[in-house]
């Protein structure tokens, strides 16, 4: 009779370790022997919870329309970009489709353009005529050297949200504000010490001096940027310096701006200051309205919105802040099906209407803009149809050119803004020094491996 060469009694240390070893071996077999599900598999990585919830509800519809296709949605949260970086570095384990956030895409564009881990989607977009159907300026954050590595999820136009009641109490009608000069006049009236204790109790506007968010939005509105279309550093241009001088003057000369409470505009501290009536206005992209609604629902009816004040009469009344793209990785095994899923999640009208309902995000697909939901009065803004305002501004969005050195540049830009606002450096000196640093960084890399 056949006998195994071991038994429980003779196994070192007895039965327990033997059982553990058997379980280990069996589970290992399960892990390595796991067969792929039948049919075509598509893996789609996401970092934002709201996006995940939206796609989770809609993927079954796509699967029903495409029998045999299994879509695996994975929400990695904030760690997703690091995981994607590791997968691209090791050339193994990247998903078919992935969403990438606007401040993170730069690092994925480093190196030779042919070695970027995303597929150039320009040929598909052009051959199917999608370019004309979308807001063209919104491709700039996701394009580099003529290739389009991602399709915009959003537009993120910016408006000025303001407390109508408190401005009116100060004798200001905000709908008459058209330029930043008008805003300064209005802001000086509205920034007040209400109880006479020498401390200002309400500021006309809250601005972030810790990071580039508000300053860079203003710079984009002016038509400037950190890099131009060819990748040149232009953060020390006269336009950029003037914009930073204006930004610092709002705090120091006109004294109508307060630094953001807490670490960013979405900090509970900032919301508390809003509820206390300490903040009278804020530059708000569409997504921020969604955050306000969910975080401070008790402020419903207190806010109103106008287009951003222009730099010059008749000038641009909006800018853009934030953004997400969807990209197809070069590791994608089924590009045609992935493209179908991409179109289903980004270009499908009912899905985009649903997205606005839950997040207030305006889609870049122009044909979706005539949906009735965008014209509906928004109770959070006292009945003002906010969607309509965002859509009215959308065609005028400024371009935001992407560059592989954006992350390093933005990190240093944060320091330059803080130094200028806290008067440690003049805006000119801060931006000149910053531009020199970034140029030196790029020159060093190019010196090492030549032009890429």
């Amino acid at each position: 009779m056949f006998r195994l060469p071991i038994d429980a009694e003779s196994f070192p240390l007895g039965k327990g370790p033997m059982v553990m070893l058997v379980l280990f071996l069996v589970s290992t077999l399960f892990i390595f022997g796991r067969s792929e599900e039948a049919g075509e598999n598509l893996e789609f990585w996401i970092f934002a919870n709201t996006h995940y919830e939206e796609y989770q509800a809609r993927v079954p519809i796509f699967e029903a329309q495409n029998p045999g296709v299994n879509v695996q949605l994975i929400n990695f949260g904030n760690t997703m970009h690091d995981k994607l970086l590791a997968a691209m570095l090791s050339n193994f384990g990247a998903p078919d489709l992935v969403e990438v956030e606007i401040t993170s895409i730069g690092r994925f564009l480093k190196g030779a353009i042919d070695e970027v881990g995303f597929v150039d989607l320009r040929p598909r977009l052009e051959s199917e005529g999608w370019m004309e159907k979308l807001v063209v300026s919104r491709f700039t954050p996701w394009s580099y050297r003529g290739k389009i590595f991602g399709i915009p999820h959003d537009l993120h136009p910016v408006v000025l949200l303001y407390r109508d009641d408190l401005f009116k109490a100060a004798g200001v009608e905000m709908t008459e504000v058209e330029t930043w000069d008008d805003f300064i006049v209005a802001g000086k009236k509205a920034t007040r010490d209400l109880d006479g204790d020498g401390e200002i109790d309400q500021y006309a506007i809250v601005l972030d001096r810790r990071t580039e968010s508000d300053y860079f939005s203003l710079l984009l509105q002016q038509g400037g940027g950190f890099f131009d279309e060819e990748g040149n550093v232009i953060i020390d241009s006269e336009l950029a310096i003037e914009t930073l001088e204006f930004f610092t003057a709002l705090f120091n000369e006109h004294e109508i701006a307060t630094p953001v409470y807490g670490t960013w505009h979405g900090d509970p501290s900032n919301f508390a200051a809003m509820q206390d009536g300490k903040i009278l206005s804020i530059l708000s992209p569409d997504w921020y309205v969604g955050i306000l609604k969910s975080q401070v629902p008790q402020m419903s009816g207190k806010w109103k919105a106008i287009p951003m004040p222009a730099w010059h009469p008749g000038g641009r009344r909006t800018t853009t802040r934030g953004g997400t793209m969807i990209g197809m990785t070069t590791q994608c095994t089924n590009p045609d099906k992935a493209w179908e899923l991409l179109k289903f999640t980004y270009f499908d009208r009912p899905g985009l209407v649903n997205r606005y309902e839950t997040t207030r995000i305006i889609p870049p697909l122009k044909s979706a803009w005539d949906a009735p939901i965008f014209k509906e009065p928004d109770p959070y803004l006292g009945g003002q149809p906010l969607g309509d305002l965002f859509i009215e501004l959308a065609p005028d969005l400024p371009p935001r050119y992407q560059n592989p050195y954006w992350s390093e540049g933005a990190d240093l830009l944060n320091d330059a803004i803080f130094a200028a606002v806290t008067e440690k450096q003049t805006p000119r000196a801060a931006l000149t020094e910053l531009a020199e640093k970034v140029r030196a960084l790029i020159a060093k890399d190019q010196g090492r491996w030549g032009e890429l």
Binding site: R3, L4, P5, I6, D7, S10, P12, H81, D82, L85, M88, L89, N91, S104, R107, F108, K110, G111, A112, E115, V116, G117, R209, R210, T211, P259, V260, Y261, G262, T263, W264, D267, P268, S269, A272, A273, D276, K278, P404, S407, E408, D411, N414, D415, F418, A419, T422, K444, D445, R448, W449, L452
Partner: protein, 299 residues
């Protein structure tokens, strides 16, 4: 003559190979997860990535750049600031708590021990989130008290307050943990030594200086070295608390700068260089500490 069955013959060789089999898992894991990455990162520090697919040899170029990098020095200063705060504030508090909980006069010792130890059971990320609310500029617990002095302090918003806020959070989280080490050390001191000191006329302070502290020397050395290493590796607490080290890199630490370079700037060679410089800093400080505390001395 009775022969051993086949089953037992299989194990005849076990005496020879068993020891190697038993230690093999450690060595396999060490080589895969420590040895290889260590050597690989050392090699990487001599290169710089050129995108995702290729890299270029730069020799000691990364080290030269690092020593000229003002943000590295600022991060090093912040890290040293935190380490100094840990050694001068957190460890004395931990020792004081241990002495109190070791005294005969304190009641409810078990509950207090648990209460002081509990913060270490909370993950660093949650501690940072909790303290974000504690330091809240408008309605935070700390400002609710300090506001009476007439100033609403932006603990996480003003350059000079960021590191003190991080240090205080570190005290809350780790003092109770280090207290347990000191407590174990205190309980190991023989009572006869105190009795002998009392016979010689020593008061409480003299007994503390000449009996307690010398007896605790190995524990103090251990806690100092481990706390110093932990302080130099500080990352998650300031990263979340300050939303990435801002303003003006006031909350940036060496490991945070390493992370930024490796993952946000895709400069893996430079990040590996920071890692190795940090390794040497930790090694030198640990050896100096152990030497000063007399751990290498023959008793």
């Amino acid at each position: 003559m009775k022969t051993k069955p086949t089953t037992y013959r299989f194990w005849n060789q076990q005496q020879k190979i068993a020891p190697y089999l038993f230690i093999a898992p450690f060595y396999i894991l060490f080589v895969v997860f420590m040895g290889y990455p260590l050597i690989s990162s050392l090699v990487m520090s001599l290169y710089e990535m050129r995108g995702f697919q290729s890299r270029i040899f730069v020799g000691i170029g990364n080290f030269v750049d690092l020593f000229r990098d003002p943000i590295f020095w600022k991060s090093l200063r912040n890290t040293a600031y935190f380490a100094a705060g840990t050694l001068t504030l957190q460890l004395p508090i931990a020792l004081l708590l241990a002495i109190l909980l070791n005294s005969k006069f304190v009641r409810g010792k078990n509950i207090l021990r648990l209460a002081f130890f509990a913060p270490v059971l909370v993950a660093g990320v949650f501690v940072a989130i909790i303290f974000n609310l504690v330091y809240d500029q408008r309605a935070g617990l700390v400002n609710e008290e300090f506001i009476f002095f007439g100033k609403e302090i932006g603990w996480l918003n003003e350059e000079n307050y960021v590191m003190p806020a991080v240090i205080l959070t570190g005290v809350w989280q780790w003092a109770g943990f280090n207290m347990i080490y000191f407590l174990a050390g205190l309980q190991g001191i023989r009572q006869e030594l105190y009795e002998a000191a009392a016979v010689d006329g020593a008061n409480w302070w003299q007994a503390f200086l000449h009996v307690t502290l010398p007896s605790l020397r190995p524990v103090i050395a251990f806690v100092f070295v481990v706390s110093m290493i932990g302080s130099l590796q500080l990352f998650d607490l300031p990263y979340i608390l300050t939303n990435g080290g801002e303003p003006a890199d006031a909350g940036s630490t060496i490991v945070m700068y390493l992370y930024k370079n490796g993952f946000q700037f895709m400069r893996l060679g430079y990040a590996a260089t920071i890692g190795w410089v940090l390794f040497f800093i930790i090694a030198v400080i640990s050896i100096v500490q152990l030497k000063l505390l007399g751990i290498f001395r023959d008793e």
